[in-house]
């Protein structure tokens, strides 16, 4: 990939990726409240409407978990452990508060570990349901109201429906802009590499929505203008998993001679494809997006009359992405100790393979120290599908 060193948007993404939270620190100095959050399930629209600067927590794959092990068991998701370790080491010392949504056991069973050790002025556990029927939508709206109430109390300001509606528009626009950038990966060779894309995705989740949109827009403009890479004779790979937020993984794929052209990650396609409907009651649209549109394994999908119908409802979008992005092979990258993703492996693997796309399943820690084995398996997979 050429020209990335001099391109303003990509350079900015690179900086925000390397110095994660840099912008949040600046905003804090300017007097903004900074609220950290975990997972794709946090309704960022509410945080934006509240006027705070949201930042999604990330882990640090190239740093060993040290301090965090004194407080959190090693049977927890290694990504969560890494993010927690970074937090207790003060990497997110700019945060005024945090939101932990109920995604999985590794998050909700450690809520008290997080809250008591970080001891932030604001803390909220958002009890997102696992099922999506009518009662769950109403319940989700109730817990969103509780969430809004706690934020209002903390900030001393009212969060109006109008502000929420505006935030919904801003985040939908942000998602649309990111999808436009993804489209540039449909070409062969893709106009933006998987490594560069990872930096953009990570940088984007560290910024307020308007700044995030501006960054994505500038990256898209720059990438469109620069010459396309010459090497189009590479296998096109999709990666599936939860929060993979380090360039080591796309590097492992692309250094082995493939292009990473699309993902189904919780910082990527999973969050940028579904929008919030602009409903009269804005909480209705938010509840529906986070419960029914987000495709994450902690939301149970089973309304179909047959197992096959449910498979389509759960994984149909993966086949769509595979077709749209002309994917030659998929890598299922699951963290150890992850029950929600781990229990899906046979189903998702066989579902994708039934469409003729080979799948490599990898279970690993969240650490660059264990990646040598992963790289070898990726190389073998690429040889196999060559």
């Amino acid at each position: 990939m050429t020209g990335s060193q001099n391109s303003k948007g990509l350079e900015k993404a690179d900086r925000y990726y390397k110095q994660y939270g840099e912008r949040a620190k600046e905003l804090k100095k300017e007097g903004r409240k900074i609220i950290g959050y975990m997972s794709a399930l946090t309704p960022v629209e509410i945080l934006t409407a509240a006027g705070v600067a949201p930042i999604r927590l990330k882990g640090f794959m190239d740093e060993a978990v040290t301090k965090g092990d004194a407080y959190m068991e090693s049977i927890i998701c290694p990504f969560v452990r890494s993010a927690f370790d970074a937090a207790v080491k003060g990497r997110f010392g700019f945060m005024d508060g945090m939101v932990l949504p109920h995604q999985c056991d590794s998050i909700d069973r450690t809520n008290e570990v997080w809250s008591s050790n970080l001891n932030l002025p604001y803390w909220h556990f958002l009890n997102v349901p696992h099922v999506t029927g009518g009662p769950s939508i109403e319940f989700m709206k109730e817990i969103l109201r509780v969430f809004i109430g706690t934020l209002e109390k903390f900030l001393g300001t009212k969060i109006t429906d109008t502000a929420i509606a505006q935030a919904i528009k801003a985040h939908n626009e942000n998602r649309r802009l990111m999808r436009e950038l993804y489209i540039l990966r449909k070409q062969n060779p893709p106009l933006i590499s998987g490594v560069e894309m990872m930096k953009v995705l990570v940088a984007a989740m560290s910024l307020p929505v308007d700044e995030s949109s501006a960054l994505i827009k500038s990256v898209t403009e720059e990438v469109k203008k620069r010459p396309a890479p010459a090497d189009g004779n590479r296998k096109r790979i999709m990666i599936i998993g939860d929060q993979i937020d380090h360039i080591a993984i796309p590097e492992a794929i692309e250094n082995a001679g493939a292009w990473l052209v699309v993902d189904d990650l919780s910082i990527g396609v999973k969050v940028y494809w579904p929008e919030v409907d602009e409903t009269t009651d804005p909480l209705q649209g938010i509840a529906e997006r986070y419960l029914r549109k987000l495709k994450i394994p902690t939301t149970f999908v089973g309304e179909g009359d047959t197992y096959e119908e449910n498979l389509e409802a759960r994984f149909g979008h993966l086949k769509q992405r595979i077709a749209e992005f002309k994917v030659d092979g998929a890598i299922l990258f699951i963290y150890k100790y992850c029950d929600p993703y781990g229990f899906e492996v046979p189903a998702v693997k066989s579902y994708i393979e039934s469409g003729g796309t080979p799948v490599l399943y990898l279970e690993d820690e969240y650490s660059t120290s264990t990646l040598a084995r992963v790289k070898t398996r990726i190389e073998a997979f690429l040889e196999m599908i060559a």
Binding site: R109, N111, E112, N127, H130, V131, K336, Y337, G342, F343
Partner: protein, 444 residues
Amino acid sequence: MAEEKKRRAVATKTAAGIPKFVRGNLSATLKAKEEGKKVAKAFIHDGHDEIMRAMDIVPAWGESFSGVCAAKRDAEKFLQKAESDNFSRSLCTYATCHIGFEMAREEQGGAMPEGAPWGGMGRPDMILGNGQLLCDPRFKWPQALQHYLRDVPVFVTNMYYPPWDPNVDHHEQEKFYVKYCTEELHETVKFCEKVTGKKMDWDRLAAVVDLSDKTWDLFVDTYDLRKAIPTPMDTGDAMNTMVPITFNIGTQEAYDFYVELNNELKEKIAQGIGVADPEKYRLIWAAGLPSWFALNDFQYFNGKGAVFPVEVTYRDHEKIERLDLPKTNDPLERIAWRWVRYWTHWYDAARKIPGSTPKVARIIEYFEDYKCDGVVFHSAFSCRSWHAGIIHQAEVLRKVYKDIPILIMEGDIVDISSYNEADTHNRIDAFIETLEAYRNKQKN
């Protein structure tokens, strides 16, 4: 067949009757078809027990099945079967053991896998799951199982309770949580009616719920007898005597079991018979499912004069009066209130201890009431739902009780590869020394 560990001796005669209960539950799933009943793969503590009992649905308890495989030290073949289709060994081993068993049966065209413990478990006609504030496998296991039992319908509900937050008054939230749980339970009934082709008998359900309430009360009264010094029963037995209330709640047999246990404990107390003679140290089993393949470790403790008069694990019931449940004519709403209040009734106590949590408030209450000297936790590597947060609980306890002796054991519920008997016993020996040193320090 792997080597079967010598059966654990039990301190109460009543507990010796537990294998009959477990066999009976397994056998009911095998006989269901000829009796015209439907079998539901179900989970304990999901609020579904009374619905199933009132509709003559036979529960097939996956956790129990896997626990039996583990206790017989014969789970490995099923764990490996699941692993062969890419289920990681780091996932819940209750689930992977059971899924491996069902995979083997399907591959054999429905024939019972060789060596299935106690005749095995019947093939389910439906799978009931539940999203909760704990335990992802309660909705992922059903989904994963259906991959191999594609004709079996799955229904998953949500049973939430207000999360603990020292700064938020949970009382204000209870109503909408109960409303949600009640609606979810009504959806469950509709699903069960569809699968069974039978309508719910609401009067019968109300009677089953009443019987459950009575059993909750009797269970707590009976376990409270263990406050006696020396204690007439410890956690080694409780890991057996939990079976009726955990797997057979809403049945007369469960209630009768605790009548018998209650009588026996009173007799033992009258005669001054304890689990250990002499009883030197009283411990609380503060969290963690046990290693089912190593229940003899409780006897190892007992042999050192250490007894567990109380445990948190499987004591998922409380005196109904203490829960202060609002009146309702809907038995499902009754279940919902009981469920929500069971969790939240510790919150007010937790607020009174700065830095505490409901889990710790509960341990403290038991620790004081049962006059304990030390705390033991067990951390099972494959289960995050009950075993994450133990370090934090231990830390909070240390803040309250300073240098209180605390042991965190490590192992698993089903996977014996995680277990080393010699190491475990060495750790227990060291802990006993700590208890002795702590006691001497207290005296001085």
